[in-house]
């Protein structure tokens, strides 16, 4: 674990060699989220609500989703399709495999996308703003639920990236479909689930559980009841589903590495 810390610190140091650029990028990432939130607020205010949800309610969803995405990308950026595919094609994976540490650790710490802290922090800010607009009564329980939501969302993002990277170990090419599930997943989770078709709802509740990570906890924080089929009591499933999904991703990765070791590059 200490090794992981050291490696991560080195990656951050490498990024900090151009501090002005790093600050600008981080700020820029934050600004995008804030601008997006303003857009959402403008939109829903104009329409007077979205599927029975007020502006503040929706902003909470946006905030949690983006925060989760930000922190997930912070850690998993080296697994994103173009970067990881390049890593494999340039043979750098071999150099990482001869280290006496788990290869995933080496891959993940080879770069840390510091600017995503901007997205993460802005996401939290937007969530708080939404909660304020929605007059949320912050009890310790609700706060804990919100934190768990962000964490689960981040883990799911990481797991999606891991699955994508695992597929790259087989095909060498990056799978851009990964982006549909990371950025797309957060975008989908930014709206209350009842507006989506049952197929989409199923996909994002039970297959790639963004809905469980963002929507269901938000029901608790906002003290709302969900639509038929998505009761707030699903909250207990959230951590379980997240762990299950992450486990599947981890197994796929292991398989992928084994495949890579059998076929070479």
């Amino acid at each position: 674990m200490a090794v992981a810390g050291q490696l991560a610190v080195a990656a951050v140091r490498a990024k900090s060699l151009q501090p002005a650029l790093l600050v600008a990028r981080t700020l820029g990432a934050a600004v995008i989220i804030v601008v997006e939130a303003i857009g959402v607020a403008l939109l829903i205010d104009r329409f007077g609500g979205l599927g029975g949800w007020a502006t503040g309610d929706v902003l909470l969803l946006v905030g949690i989703g983006e925060a989760g995405l930000g922190f997930g990308l912070l850690v998993g950026d080296t697994l994103e399709p173009p970067a990881f595919s390049l890593l494999v094609r340039e043979g750098r994976l071999d150099s990482l495999l001869v280290r006496p540490v788990p290869v995933l650790l080496s891959v993940v710490t080879s770069d840390v996308q510091v600017r995503e802290v901007g997205r993460g922090a802005a996401g939290i800010g937007v969530a708080l703003w939404g909660a304020w607009q929605a007059d949320v009564d912050w009890t310790p329980a609700r706060a804990a639920v919100a934190v768990m939501a962000v964490v689960c969302c981040a883990v799911i993002v990481l797991a999606v990236l891991l699955l994508g990277a695992a597929s790259t170990l087989y095909t060498v090419e990056g799978s851009e479909f990964v982006n549909a599930f990371t950025y797309g997943g957060a975008a989908l989770a930014a709206n209350p689930l009842q507006i989506y078709s049952s197929a989409l709802r199923f996909l994002f509740l039970w297959v790639v559980p963004f809905g469980l990570a963002v929507y269901v906890p938000s029901l608790h924080v906002l003290d709302r009841t969900g639509p038929p089929g998505i009761p707030a009591s699903l909250l207990v499933v959230t951590p379980l589903a997240t762990v299950a999904f992450a486990t599947v991703a981890g197994l796929a990765w292991r398989r992928g590495v084994r495949h890579y070791a059998s076929t070479g590059s």
Partner: protein, 260 residues
């Protein structure tokens, strides 16, 4: 000279062809986002007729025009020019005869055209088949759409050029972009239609230079005085190109005087 530009256009077109795989899978992400935003607007318009002068069909069409034009306008090769300026590779352009801007534009439009064929048309056509979108029904209408798309490409080139031209003066161009992009993206209507903006912001969005990239094309597709919209794009294209020319001249002078 036109032969050169035609050749450059073709070269640009060919250049994008090498990114085949990325093209297809990027398409998947585009479509996915389109689906999500469609669901959003369907829900928003559930009990409403028109908001900001746009009805449901207008809004849904907007969603898919956004997906169609996004790759065209905010192209992935935005850093090539500034990087070339910084690395000194751009000097080669300075030693060639003729107008640099024209050459860059021709090449860029070639690349955009390649993207347009798949990434722009497929989502729009697919959505038009499935949903009730408001698209032109006459040949003239589609001709205007083509013209509008081309002008959007020109406007996109100009904005990218102007942003990238900061490289002539500073090496922090990426940082500058990071900070300005969110506002350009928002104000040009890529997040929500400019028609939903309050007061003066709405006017700026509908008539200002950024309108040439998205808002005007949407009007052309949905048939809200398309002729005027194309005219607006044309005017802004000319103005923007003039601005690019001026900036380029300044930039060239700086390069020549100060070196790379």
């Amino acid at each position: 000279m036109l032969g050169l530009h035609r050749a450059l256009f073709a070269a640009g077109f060919q250049r994008q062809a090498t990114y085949r795989l990325a093209l297809f899978s990027g398409l998947a992400t585009n479509v996915f986002f389109g689906v999500i935003r469609t669901a959003l607007f369907l829900a928003l318009y559930e009990e409403r007729g028109a908001v900001g002068g746009l009805d449901r069909a207008d809004a849904l069409t907007y969603v898919w025009v956004v997906q169609a034009l996004f790759g065209l306008v905010w192209a992935t090769w935005i850093w090539e020019l500034p990087d070339a300026v910084r690395s000194g590779a751009f000097e080669a352009e300075l030693t060639r005869p003729g107008g640099i801007l024209g050459r860059l534009l021709a090449f860029d439009l070639g690349r955009s055209a390649n993207i347009a064929i798949l990434r722009t048309t497929v989502p729009l056509v697919a959505a038009a088949l499935v949903l009730h979108l408001r698209v032109p029904t006459s040949v003239a209408g589609w001709a205007l759409v083509l013209a509008s798309a081309a002008l959007a490409g020109v406007a996109g080139f100009c904005f990218r050029f102007l942003i990238g031209a900061s490289a002539f003066w500073t090496s922090d161009y990426r940082g500058a972009y990071s900070l300005t992009f969110p506002f350009l993206w928002f104000l040009s209507g890529f997040l929500i239609p400019v028609e939903y903006f309050p007061g003066a912001l709405r006017t700026l969005g509908e008539l200002g230079p950024l309108a040439a990239m998205l808002t005007a094309p949407v009007r052309v597709v949905t048939g809200r005085s398309p002729g005027t919209a194309v005219l607006l794009q044309l005017v802004w294209a000319v103005v923007l190109l003039a601005a690019c020319r001026a900036v380029l001249a300044r930039g060239e002078r700086r390069l020549v005087v100060h070196g790379g």
